[in-house]
């Protein structure tokens, strides 16, 4: 093949992804004096972070002075069923308050307490009201703040540029290859360090709150470059999404609704969550309605409402109610805030929810209950990183945000992602810049790697074949939905893997119409490769873990098993084959262990 022409950009650090994690990383790397390129596949400011609603978790102690990092740490670990990387959870809890205050100094306007501090709201699994928020559009506030701060820091931004492959020089990462969406031209980035901040993998499922961007690109780029992935079996199905009308099925209904007093009911009007309190959370969960309702205003003397159990528990409970025939007309359950809070309060606290139901479903949530059900929302698994530096197992490659693994263990608590983004985004930018500064050697971009990436890129436009990329994507989503969903078992998972093999073959025959100018058919075809990769990783890891824990439930292994609580499932590519292993979790030091022995 003739040598492809392409443009090249050189930086000390490139950051792939411009959501909360990527923006924060780029800002920090620039502050360290590095030359930074920030790459994103949508326009700047449109990343998934913009959709986050409920808030950002940080033990500021503004509403409950009793709150501190130890309590936040403990909640996070317990929510993650103790499978979290303890050091990440510790750093996260310790540094989140500073990161929130920093956002405020950069212009973010969080809702206020009466004395002018940042107000905090209740969320599932958090012992105290802990989420700094702006109504129910916290992610928008966060991304605009970082975006408008970032554009004045001398960062070069490459928008609508899709990275397809990382480049390596020996063991080290030395850049990336991608294409411009606007004209399909190939672009090469040469850099000493690469930060992955590409977000999640939700597009592998049929019903998801995630956008077209969530095709697991960062996970795949890392895997292909030789890095380890961990915890890929842990996928969060958030319990409350719209189920009706069909076209909006999967649109998130923020946990803030329950944090602000909303409660789940079945078609008999029962608050069924009281029937699903697991042993693990019994001591801290109210077992009667009166106590649960008192808890909203008096947290000292009452235990929390089971409506706010961690997400995996609530999602399973809803699934069980629907299965038992106690669901709502469109296959969900009811979420009622209208009988519990005044209309004004609802409109002020949950403006987007009010708007969303009114405009898209014709439902006035100040008068009627919502119909809600679970959908894929978040992936806990991701690139295995060193807690302090976010370095992956490949030199020069760093990862932060949803595409990094370890922080959330088997299940993420609401609000802990936005804080994760800024805590580890900052660390990624810092350590990538330091790595680049200290790296004395020369890096060379290998022509052959660029050529091969370019060939793969252009193939779907050139080959003869009859497969439609959208059809393959839809078939993949259907398989994952039915076979690798909330409740799994060995037979289904094996069937899923067999189907994925067939889909991989079909994907090789995808042919797209049209040219290279802004061609979504072509883009969808190219994203199939990473989508299939993460789907397989998730299914393989789910098959490996023979227990139920957090965001991984096996009906053939319904119990949590202590032995499995000591290991991560690790995936890596060696000689083109996906290898699975179980590797021990880092051991938590005694002083932190002691936090779990205290009376709650």
């Amino acid at each position: 093949m003739a040598t492809t022409s392409h443009e090249t950009h050189e930086h000390d650090v490139i950051v792939i992804g411009a959501g909360g994690a990527g923006l924060r990383a780029a800002i920090e790397a620039a502050a360290q004096g590095a030359s930074v390129g920030l790459i994103c596949k949508s326009l700047l400011g449109k990343a998934h972070t913009v959709m986050a609603e409920g808030g950002i978790a940080a033990a500021l102690g503004n509403v409950w002075p009793e709150d501190n990092w130890q309590v936040h740490f403990r909640d996070t670990m317990r929510g993650g069923k103790m499978l979290n990387n303890w050091r990440m959870a510790q750093l996260h809890a310790q540094e989140a308050p500073d990161r929130v205050l920093e956002l405020e100094r950069w212009g973010a306007l969080f809702d206020r307490t009466k004395d002018g501090r940042i107000l905090q709201r209740d969320f599932g699994g958090h012992r105290y009201a802990r989420l700094a928020h702006v109504g129910d559009r916290t992610g928008l506030e966060m991304i605009r703040t970082l975006q408008y701060h970032g554009i004045h820091q001398g960062i070069d931004v490459y928008m609508e540029c899709n990275v397809q492959r990382l480049l390596k020089d020996g063991d080290r990462v030395c850049g990336a290859v991608g294409y411009w969406r606007k004209d399909g031209e190939i672009v090469v980035f040469k850099s000493k360090a690469v930060v992955l901040a590409t977000g999640g993998i939700g597009k592998a499922w049929k019903v998801t709150s995630n956008s077209w961007e969530y095709t697991g690109d960062g996970h795949s780029l890392a895997l292909w470059a030789g890095a380890d992935l961990i915890d890929m079996e842990f996928v969060q199905f958030h319990p409350t999404h719209m189920v009706w009308p069909l076209s909006v099925a999967g649109l998130l209904v923020t946990e803030g609704v329950r944090g602000d007093g909303g409660t789940l009911k079945n078609n008999k009007g029962e608050r069924f969550m009281f029937n699903y309190i697991p042993e693990f959370f019994k001591a801290e969960t109210a077992d009667n309605i009166e106590e649960a309702d008192r808890w909203y205003t008096d947290k000292k003397n009452n235990r929390r409402t089971p409506d706010l159990l961690p997400r995996d528990e609530v999602a399973r409970a809803i699934t069980a109610e629907v299965k038992a025939g106690r669901g709502s007309p469109h296959g969900g359950v009811f979420l009622d805030i209208c009988t519990r809070r005044p209309a004004d309060y609802i409109r002020k606290r949950l403006p987007s929810m009010y708007h969303q139901f009114k405009e898209l479903a014709g439902v006035d949530i100040t008068r009627e209950p919502m119909e809600v059900g679970p959908a894929q929302h978040y992936v806990m698994g991701g690139v295995r990183v060193d807690a302090d530096s976010t370095a992956s197992t490949v030199p020069g490659l760093f990862a932060a945000g949803e595409c990094a693994g370890g922080m959330h263990g088997a299940n993420r608590l609401g609000g802990n992602s936005l804080s994760d983004l800024v805590v580890f985004g900052r660390r990624a930018g810092l350590h990538a810049a330091l790595y680049a500064k200290n790296f004395g050697g020369q890096l060379a971009v290998d022509r052959g790697q660029v050529e091969s990436a370019a060939r793969d890129l252009l193939e779907p436009l050139e080959r003869s074949g009859s497969e439609n990329p959208y059809t393959i994507q839809a078939d993949l989503q259907q398989s994952m939905h039915t076979l690798v969903g909330i409740i799994r078992n060995e037979a289904d998972l094996k069937q899923a893997l067999a189907k994925l093999e067939v889909l991989k073959e079909r994907a090789k025959k995808v042919r797209v119409e049209g040219g290279r100018t802004y061609n979504p058919g072509w883009h969808t075809a190219l994203d199939l490769k990473s989508l299939l990769t993460v789907a397989e990783c998730s299914a393989v890891a789910a098959l490996e873990r023979k227990e139920s824990r957090g965001g991984h439930t096996r009906d053939d292994h319904p119990y949590t098993d202590d032995q499995w609580g000591k290991v991560n499932v690790v995936l890596r590519l060696r000689n083109g084959a996906l290898q699975v292993s179980r590797e021990p979790l880092p051991e938590m030091p005694e002083d932190l262990k002691a936090l779990f022995k205290e009376r709650q």
């Binding site: 405009e359 119409e513 979504p520």
Partner: protein
């Protein structure tokens, strides 16, 4: 119940193009963007359009639907008569890249020109306090999802290519207003507002406010107070007083 509509979609690029008709079925609760996706999946895989959230939160899917600037993901099909032909064109003011996708880089250039926040020193205890009533009005501006529909309809940008260099547009007037009314900010942006942002070119037609999907009172709460402040700019004492006394915003409908 499925109903069939005809989408009359602009197909073309910078060199030119035409409208083409695509019959497509709609089911209960669907929005225009769903139908565009259906066309993509079955009839025109290379149909270019932008979207991300499908929930009116990211501001990516702006287009002109039957001539009206709108978010495709928030435009419900039951707004139309069954069987109707619905035309969908790219937003008019910005150069076409392909089909429904336009080059909105103008907005990113303007964004960068706005002088950023510079905070006053913290209180004695090292922290800042802000009262909810002092930030209510700015929180309204912060609802902006950067769909650029207001930029699209503003005649100064739409009809006067030559003014683009010296005019920021309504999106950035409320950006400036948000910074300017920030209780902790210390920057005087009046020179910028007048010269680089060209606020004087705005003649308060309110077209921007009418199309804003976030129902931000762009003119009443943003542009007009800024213009009033500029009128006082010769008198820095008045400016300071106004800044710290605050201007009462109109509340959202």
């Amino acid at each position: 119940m499925a109903t069939t509509f005809t989408l009359r979609l602009f197909r073309g690029d910078a060199k030119g193009g035409t409208f083409r008709d695509y019959p497509v079925e709609s089911e209960e609760g669907m929005v225009v963007l769903d139908l565009v996706h259906r066309v993509q999946a079955s009839q025109a895989p290379d149909l270019a359009c932008r979207w991300n959230c499908k929930a009116g939160k990211c501001g990516s899917c702006s287009a002109e639907v039957n001539g009206q600037p709108r978010l495709m993901c928030m435009t419900r099909m039951d707004l139309f008569q069954p069987g109707e032909t619905i035309s969908i064109a790219p937003i008019r003011t910005f150069p076409i890249i392909r089909d429904l996708v336009t080059d909105v880089s103008y907005n990113y250039v303007k964004a960068k020109q706005v002088p950023p926040l510079r905070l006053k020193p913290p209180e004695a205890d090292g922290t800042y306090r802000m009262m909810q009533e002092d930030i209510d009005r700015i929180q309204e501006f912060h609802k902006c999802i950067e769909c650029f529909l207001c930029q699209d309809v503003c005649h100064v940008i739409r009809d006067h290519e030559e003014k683009k260099t010296s005019f920021a547009g309504p999106r950035f007037f409320i950006k400036i207003a948000g910074l300017d009314m920030h209780p902790l900010d210390t920057v005087d942006r009046s020179r910028f507002m007048k010269d680089a942002a060209g606020i004087g070119l705005c003649n308060i037609t309110k077209c921007c406010t009418e199309v804003c999907p976030e129902h931000i009172h762009i003119t009443d709460n943003g542009i007009i107070p800024l213009k009033e402040r500029l009128a006082d700019e010769m008198d820095p004492v008045v400016w300071l007083l106004r800044k710290f006394r605050g201007v009462k915003p109109k509340t959202n409908a």
